[in-house]
Amino acid sequence: MESNVYSVEQVKDKVAQAFPAVVFNDAKIEPRRLYMAADRSVLFELCKLLKDELGFDHCSLVSGVDYCDKFQTVYHITSYTSNITVEIVVDLPHDEPEVDSVTPLWAGANWHERETYDMFGIIFKGHPNLRRLLLPEDYKFFPMRKDCHEGGR
């Protein structure tokens, strides 16, 4: 297990060094938090760096947001040794919502990705078992999309 303790600044520097394209949200400065936006092509490699070299061993949450012109997947990843939580947002085009799965890295992301697929129809490439989770297998909609008004008020 990774035992090095990193500060938020060190994590930021290491990520910026390896992935110059990652955009940090400098407007939000909070203790033990780091906010960043990444392109979907580098997401898996970024997560691999976080997990293997920086000791981020816990995936708290993978969730999706439908912004109508785009989808977004949001990852909250925590390091138990450094007590830092990283938030990564990844934009996906609305007509082709596909992103690499992080389940091979963190088994805890398994059902979160399945649920996001279930609710938004976002495809997680490389997921071991991408089936509907909460809704029936033959359900025809992705109900959390903003254009789905089934029985809404």
Partner: protein, 361 residues
């Protein structure tokens, strides 16, 4: 012998709610398993997109009837972060105290449930009897036994009524004696220990990777508690110690929860000592939230609960996404029971403290 699939659920005494544990057995041994959830899916996250911020507080209570205060608490924390509101000191203490009382109440409900799971009705009766005292405290504080609607964005709804602190201290004194009684009833009973020790083993590394949090993670010897590692409200000002156990098995999970009840008693006592005697308990808050995102998380009785809220400048959240600790623990429950016998399943899964309301949402 031929292998076959058995459905344990959705209606089964083991499940504590509607879910289905499909197990593949070879004789009595479980060779494969698959948890199936979704029977209680209410579309919570879609529903809240049609409600304003204040209307969601009672809905957050209903995520889990056993620990409803902690759910409305984490929701209020997320929205406070989004609106950039600072909560008054006294309200923070009341919240932390209610959290700990809720933790005791929730652990007592879990204890009652595993009592029946393991075939001892006495534990069930003792635990529900003692839980009722904490529900009485909550009734005096909030007016409800289970779904409190007490936490507010910017504080709490009302201050504690007259004599509440006196009743609280009496209850804690009584409850500490009862904890010793549980110790004699369960910890020193050979039958209970035989049904718990060595079952449901999972290594610390796998437990972390599976995303398991809360008492189950601390029962694997991992020192991780958000009250300590990522303190919220006033937990960083309190002096308390984290309850861990190195066993990684069902017995360790049982012990951690029992120790946590004692630790919660200590935390409540310390809150009473350090709490400001008077002062505001709530600040005025706007009805609309600015555009932006916010995330808040806390140590629920079952683990790490997290809410991620997206505001769009209106009075309703654009998106509110929930991380339920049990959702993730159940996703790994098949690994916990693989290799054990059918009769061990209630014992192993009972120790997870299953609540379907927050799992399916």
């Amino acid at each position: 012998m031929a292998e076959m699939w058995i459905n344990m659920g959705p209606q089964h005494p083991m499940t504590h709610g509607l879910w289905n544990m499909r197990i593949k057995v070879d004789g009595e041994t479980i060779v494969d398993a698959e948890p199936v959830i979704g029977y209680l899916h209410r579309g919570w996250e879609k529903m809240v997109e049609d409600r304003n911020y204040i209307q969601i507080i009672p809905m957050a209570d209903r995520l889990c009837y056993g620990s409803s205060f902690t759910w409305s608490h984490v929701y209020c924390m997320a929205v406070e972060k989004l609106m950039d509101i600072e909560v008054p000191e006294r309200a923070k203490y009341i919240r932390a105290m209610s959290d700990e009382l809720q933790r005791i109440g929730n652990h007592l409900m879990w204890l009652a449930a595993i009592g029946t799971d393991l075939g001892n009705l006495t534990v069930f009766l003792y635990a529900t009897r003692d839980r009722e005292l904490f529900l009485d405290l909550f009734t005096a504080l909030t007016g409800a036994r289970m779904t409190y609607n007490y936490c507010r964005i910017g504080g709490v709804r009302n201050d504690s009524p007259a004599n509440w602190v006196r009743d609280l201290e009496r209850t804690l004194d009584y409850f500490e004696k009862r904890l010793k009684e549980y110790d004699m009833l369960i910890d020193q009973s050979k039958l209970f220990r035989m049904r718990m020790e060595g079952l449901g083993y999972m290594s610390p590394k796998d437990t972390i990777n599976a995303g398991i949090t809360g008492p189950v993670l601390r029962a694997a010897g991992v020192k991780q508690d958000l009250r300590h590692n990522d303190p919220y409200e006033i937990y960083d000002e309190l002096d308390w110690h984290m309850c861990t156990h190195d066993g990684c098995d069902t017995w360790a999970r049982y012990r951690v929860r029992m120790m946590e009840m004692q630790e919660s008693v200590n935390i409540v006592r310390e809150c009473l000592k350090k709490m400001p005697k008077d002062g505001p308990i709530r600040v005025k808050t706007p009805r609309t939230a600015p555009a932006g995102t916010a995330m808040a998380r806390m140590e629920d009785p079952r683990g790490e609960s997290l809410m991620y809220v997206v505001g769009d400048g209106t009075g309703k959240p654009y998106r509110l996404s929930v991380r339920s600790p049990l959702f993730v623990i159940l996703s790994a429950s098949d690994k916990l029971i693989k290799g054990s016998k059918i009769a061990d399943v209630p014992s192993i899964l009972g120790m997870l403290d299953v609540c379907m309301g927050e799992t399916d949402r």
